[in-house]
Symmetry: C2
Subunit: 245 residues, 2 copies
DNA sequence: GCAAAAGTGTTGTCCTTACACCCATGC
DNA sequence: GCATGGGTGTAAGGACAACACTTTTGC
């Protein structure tokens, strides 16, 4: 649509007002921090570096970065993932924003926490700067900033989400045995589950594809391997209504 | 602990580094927006104003404000609530952060969305600036900024949360009938529920206190009034483990 | 007495849980 | 042949869904 002079000027005037308003606001640096979970040796692990800041004396820190001026928050998180693991087709979801004025010793920084799940074996850690490594979640002690609190929040989020959505499969290889799947659930939820009931449960959901292959190189009877049927799940997503508290 | 000169200087040096780092970061204005839900005439409603910005030509907007330099995010949201409803003992929870670079016409503004629940009758709207009013959620059309998207996200959040936690009672008077409670659930979830099963469900939870009062001034047989037993609920919060998707 | 909503039980189905034995493989 | 985990079925109990009639009150 072609604009004539008068409304264009009026619009421009309104834009100037809006811009002036935003420029009058106090500003604060905003970062994203990624809590990247993986599963290895039957343990839930999280990808961490040693903090850059001397102040923290080598304590562990999440992978994070400043959000660039014209960058979507989600994209900033994907960028961090890409830079550190080389992957961009990874599960990622915003969890919560942490903005306590004292959380960063250098001044106020607000951070948006993202949770990400990936299969450790599929992702070579490209960059070993700052001693990038996987750490078992269960044995984390003090961390830099409020990063322990962020990890705890994401872990609680994961525990809840994994019971309601098939996120867990992002942590496993494409092909997995029911034992691996059960180990994953037991490790993340911190419970032990009845093997027969667990298998029955997944059998009744009918979301696992039997690919007619067996485990290799295990020192016992090999188990069958399965894939998760994401298409079928997406089609039949249930709308559950109930009251339960 | 008294510090001697050398470590103090070292610490100060580290602090200067940290501060310099933070000051080098790009900065962006951060706001909070409150999605304040109420329940009236068997409808879920949300508290909105008409946008200040001429650009939006009177479209509806959430209640929000800039986060002050040394303010906790939660406190900023409580402040907004207090300013508009006069109340500070209100349910409030962070839901999600919206940070698309184009969401504000005056430049980039990141906003942290909060969801809040209150009983409309207990809260006189103190300030009727900008035509502060309750609007039925079901009939919301276009809104200013991305506020429709934020309301939708908070509504979805509420639908999910109300099934797992007793949030709904924040929307009702202290004393309520089972009918009112059921109306609330039906309105929020958008379903109709079997009256007998609904009552049995709550009876079996044993979290409603029969206060031995009846409804007044209803043009039909009055129902019993109840209070919700928050203490008992807090004590017996269940740890549920199951897989369901 | 009529309109309007309150209050109340039973039954079948399904899901969950608890539980024990034989089987296939590597060593 | 033994150690290790794979694979399977059943029975009981609890939760949920479906369903209809009587009671109380205001008018």
């Amino acid at each position: 649509m072609k604009k004539n002079a008068v409304p264009a000027t009026h619009e421009q005037q309104q834009m100037r007002e809006a811009t002036a308003l935003v420029q009058s606001y106090p500003k604060v640096p905003v970062t994203v921090d990624c809590v990247i979970f993986g599963f290895e040796e039957n343990k839930l692990k999280v990808l961490l570096i040693k903090s850059d800041l001397e102040l923290f004396n080598g304590r562990l820190s999440l992978l994070g970065d400043i959000v660039q001026s014209n960058e979507e928050l989600d994209n900033a998180a994907y960028r961090v993932l890409k830079e550190r693991t080389g992957m961009n087709d990874v599960f990622l979801e915003q969890v919560r924003t942490f903005g306590s004025p004292k959380r960063h010793p250098g001044g106020r920084v607000i951070t948006v926490a993202y949770c990400s799940l990936l299969n450790i074996n599929h992702h070579e850690l490209k960059i070993l700067d700052n001693e990038l490594h996987w750490h078992p979640v269960a044995s984390l002690k003090e961390m830099a900033f409020d990063h322990k609190e962020i990890v705890d929040a994401c872990y609680a989020w994961l525990q809840k989400r994994i019971q309601e959505h098939p996120l867990g499969f992002n942590l496993l290889p494409d092909k997995f045995s029911l034992r691996e799947l059960q180990n994953l659930y037991e490790a993340i939820l911190g419970v032990s589950l009845d093997r027969r009931n667990f298998r029955k449960k997944f059998a009744s959901m009918d979301l696992l594809i039997d690919i007619d292959e067996m485990e290799q190189d295990v020192p016992h009877r090999p188990g069958k391997l399965y894939k998760f049927n994401f298409e079928k799940y997406e089609k039949n997503k249930r709308k559950w209504v109930g009251i339960d508290f």
